[in-house]
């Protein structure tokens, strides 16, 4: 059991990265939001915001939907017997979750995890049964409905042996919740032969603070693909998920795409710890600075023979006011590992823009095409809906000079 006193002490513990947020300045949001039976009937603002983060209000093409408003579940529907989808609090009543709860993220990691732990934050619980391949994704949406409050969620995903699942999660706010804090602890467990594709799309506001805390534990021959996309302005966003490849042959891939608008402070990275022989990992990050602050981190730790990993951080600077920094780290504790990294920060190449203009594209069209190529190229298997989101964001950002 965790020592509650240690966790209480951690309430003042600043996070390792990102600007510090005074969590006491935020009210704790409600744990009992209004229930919504049919999300097709939610008001249009809410619906639009969900659609913007990849969550569709219709049930078709989805195995299940869960909507969290502030700190509690507002809607849960599932149409697939191979999955369990419920709130974490309900799951804890039904099952003994002691082998999962706070096993992938430490509660005294920093003040945000401590707060979630001490409040026994609710969240989603998703489990896919052993051997089951769920064809259509589960979607979850974390929505903040009230201003100046702290959304505090704790999520658990379990992919049982040889099962596979895709999860799309979107996080956003209603239009009047402009200055809130989102803290989300997510613990993911992928068992032998299991496979999970997890796509997270964030759409916040320019005064929102966002502190996700994620840990992923992977067993033998399991697969994990994580896509993270942040295209709109945010006050500050800092996350650094840690993945433990504990089983032989496990592999993880992290893709992230971020736009750092003027005034946004983004510090995003991933760490993958390769603890078992024959594990592999890839971290690919693409970011664009439009006048904001962009930190792209990545760390690979090789602890077992035959581990293979690659880390790639590339950033385009489109505006002189911003700050961009790519921080790749490799750490190897055994001899027989193959780990590489690549980092590049630069501006858009003028000769490329002119080449496209020569073919009749306007300067804006040319820059947009190169930027979209930069963001999407090099990342394989990006879902089509994400590409459309990225295209739309690049268009909206009006990148030409």
């Amino acid at each position: 059991m965790q020592n509650d006193k240690n966790v209480k002490n951690a309430l003042d513990k600043k996070a390792a990265y990102g600007p510090d947020v005074d969590i006491n300045a935020f009210k704790t949001g409600t744990y009992t939001p209004d229930k919504i039976d049919n999300i097709e009937e939610t008001d249009t603002d809410m619906k639009d915001r969900m659609v913007n983060v990849g969550v569709t209000p219709c049930k078709s093409g989805r195995s299940g939907t869960m909507l969290f408003v502030d700190n509690g579940p507002s809607h849960i529907s599932s149409c697939n017997d191979d999955i369990e989808l419920m709130s974490l609090r309900d799951a804890a009543k039904r099952y003994d979750l002691s082998e999962y709860l706070w096993k992938a993220v430490s509660p005294d990691k920093d003040k945000y995890t401590a707060k979630s732990y001490l409040e026994e934050a609710d969240g989603y619980f998703i489990r896919v049964r052993a051997g089951k391949h769920v064809k259509t994704p589960i979607q979850t949406c974390m929505l903040i409905n009230r201003n100046k409050q702290m959304q505090n969620v704790h999520n658990i995903i379990i992919v049982e042996e040889n099962a596979s699942l895709e999860v799309i999660t979107g996080c956003t706010t209603s239009k009047h919740a402009t200055e809130s804090l989102h803290v989300g602890v997510s613990e993911t467990f992928i068992k032998d032969g299991g496979s999970l594709s997890f796509t997270m799309i964030h759409n916040w506001g320019d005064k929102m603070h966002v502190r996700p805390r994620s840990g992923i534990i992977m067993e033998r021959n399991s697969r994990f693909v994580n896509n993270y996309v942040l295209l709109n302005p945010v006050g500050s966003m800092q996350s650094y998920p840690v993945t433990y490849l504990n089983g032989e042959g496990a592999s993880a891939k992290f893709n992230s795409i971020c736009l750092a608008h003027e005034g946004s402070d983004i510090d995003v990275g991933s760490m993958v710890i390769l603890n078992a022989p024959g594990t592999s990992a890839e971290i690919i990050s693409r970011s664009i600075t439009l006048g904001g602050r962009m930190m792209a981190r990545g760390k690979l730790v090789g602890n077992a023979a035959g581990a293979k990993a690659h880390l790639e951080c590339r950033s385009l600077v489109l505006n002189d006011n911003g700050l961009t920094s790519a921080v790749p780290e490799l750490e190897s504790n055994v001899a027989d590992v193959e780990m590489t990294h690549e980092a590049a920060v630069g501006k858009i190449a003028r000769d490329q823009v002119e080449y496209l203009m020569m073919r009749g594209l306007t300067e804006d069209e040319a820059v947009g095409m190169i930027v979209r190529g930069f963001l999407e190229g090099g990342i394989s298997g990006l879902p089509d809906h994400l590409k459309r989101e990225i295209d739309a964001a690049v268009e909206k950002a009006n990148l030409g000079s």
Binding site: D351, M358, R359, A366, G373, G377
Partner: protein, 246 residues
């Protein structure tokens, strides 16, 4: 008159590369540009296209009587100027298919044309990335053909092309100049062509040739005559003897 260049001076990175060029190309005419390496041939084409690294410090370029000296590149393209680059840049992340589709306006045309240029297998590839010499030329010509320019700047279209591809490249250039696809004006498509070897002249006719040396036009004449002189005597001699005749 398609193109008229008057007393053109161009600087690159503060260094004067073109030092007073005068040149005229009539409608439907093809003009050839010879000259030793580094004489400024590519720079002249780049200046006509409006590429940013070439700074026009003096003189004027007019296209069908429109002053284009300071016109943005894309506007020149829309007026009907097209260019095949000698060494085009890699556009990482941009698929050839997407580019050709944007240029030609629809994906069906893009598909059909890419077959014709033997580029169908490259549509999913990033533009120019890892293309061989011949593939680059075919890709450039495919893009040009999708644009249908009225006036074409060709920078050494045959260089780096192997024997197998030279026929395809030559015939496609001929198609651009004399085919019906792009010949929207009655008076035909015109061109300014840089060639070292003169090989491309087996496929297209040329009306006039110039030799560029040290950023100036050293001499001009009939393309076949000049080429014969250059082949026999090299640029030094050729320029000398023609200068005396002028």
């Amino acid at each position: 008159m398609v193109l008229k260049i008057e007393d053109l001076h161009v600087e690159i990175a503060g260094k004067e590369i073109l030092r007073g060029i005068d040149l005229e190309i009539g409608t439907g005419q093809t003009t050839v540009l010879f000259g030793p390496n580094g004489s400024g041939k590519s720079t002249l084409l780049a200046a006509v296209m409006g590429l940013g690294h070439c700074k026009v410090t003096k003189g004027r370029i007019t296209f069908f009587d429109i002053d284009i000296t300071n016109m943005p590149i894309d506007e020149r393209a829309r007026l009907g100027i097209g260019m095949m680059m000698q060494r085009p840049p890699n556009i990482v992340g941009v698929k050839l298919k997407d580019l050709v589709t944007i240029i030609s306006g629809d994906s069906k045309t893009a598909m059909d044309m890419s077959n014709e240029f033997k580029m169908d297998k490259f549509l999913e590839r990033d533009v120019n990335v890892g293309f061989s010499g011949g593939e680059i030329k075919r890709s450039e010509l495919l893009q040009l053909a999708s644009q249908c320019p009225q006036f074409i700047l060709l920078d050494e279209p045959e260089s780096g092309v192997d024997l197998e591809n030279i026929d395809l490249v030559g015939n496609k250039v001929r198609g651009l100049l004399y085919g019906n696809a792009c010949n929207k004006r009655e008076d035909g498509v015109s061109a300014l062509v840089i060639t070292h070897t003169g090989q491309i002249l087996d496929y297209i006719g040329a009306d006039r040739a110039y030799v560029l040396k040290d950023g100036m036009i050293a001499c001009s004449g009939r393309p076949t005559d000049l080429l014969k002189d250059i082949r026999m005597k090299g640029y030094g001699e050729c320029v000398k003897c023609r200068m005396i005749k002028m």
